[in-house]
Amino acid sequence: MEVKFNLNGKPVAAEIKADTLLYDLLREEGCYSVKCGCETTNCGLCTVMLDGKPSLSCSILAARVEGREVFTLEGLQKEAEEFGEFLAAEGAEQCGFCSPGFIMNVLAMARELDEPDMEEIKEYLSGNLCRCSGYMGQMRAVEKYIKTKREDR
């Protein structure tokens, strides 16, 4: 079957099987930032924005994105870079494997929550696991990023 959707701002048509997962389709389309880290639907590494909402692409049938809009890290380079600088400044980047999913969810949070406090930030990001570089540095980076975003508005 064929699925047509919008990927990172461009229309895409792809041939899929009934049980092709969005995760696999996105990698076929060259979006290698999207990775599968756990196989148990809870690590957050495969996070993409589906119609603007952070979602686990490992659990979404590709057929279900017909006519919808998907953004991966590849399509949000400017925002990702901006937040990436905060991460680097706090020394909060180590192996980088989980970063794409983590960054996607931080960007989703920055869009969704207006003035999140630390508790709200932690709760929003609790579905992103495996942060080997340590949580404190990442939290400092997120806090500063959110603050800067707010001041820019």
Binding site: A18, L21, T41, G44, P54, S59, L61, A63, N105, G127
Partner: protein, 256 residues
Amino acid sequence: MITINNYVKVSSLQEAYELNQKRTNRVLGGMMWLRLGAGRVQTAIDLSGLGLDYIEEDEEEFRIGAMCTLRELELHEGLARYFDGAVKESVRHIVGVQFRNGATVGGSIFGRFGFSDVLTCFLAMDAYVELFRGGIIPLKEFIQMKRDNDILVSIHVKKDQRKVVYMSERAAATDFPLVACAVAIKGEKIFCSVGARPMKAILLEDVCPKKEEAGDFARKSAKAVPFGSNMRAGEAYRRQIAGVLIRRGIEKIMEG
């Protein structure tokens, strides 16, 4: 992992119902757990084109469409206001925001999962399921029914003035609950729902105790609930924790 041969996005509940009569076909919820199961699905039935992702509120009740996500439950202001945040509390510990943007209320309820926070929460409320063929049935009856081939359309929750508190005990944030508990009080009546036993939630209905008797009542209630052991917790531990959660729930409601 599950394999699916055909995918059909149905255009009516009738179509979904007819397809679902074949045993090898399956209705999709959010596919969070379904994907992890083994087995072959001949035709996956997708209800997402039927507009079932609503939460409607009127003077008498809330009507929550089966395809409404757990995240939508969590963020709904009307539910938060009426149930004093109990519904939000029941879902906010489930995995993460991304997961809750996918998982559906219908999937949680129809699955009657042993670990379900959502089922535990609604069970303490005056809740009903609306089935395409079976009509409107109290949730407490639905959970006793054998899994059949009907289609879950929505959940109705009556605004019957009951006060509800939801609590769960988890070994780690975002993990499955070791014990889940919802306590509701309406006038002289108390409703205690206990889930993650690790079997599906059970409902106890009783006469509401006085505040100073809450501890005794809670211990007695927890004793009446069958618990089991699994890798997360033992039977005795679960019973102990359940007693504490029930007591706390009663006290919290009575203290207002």
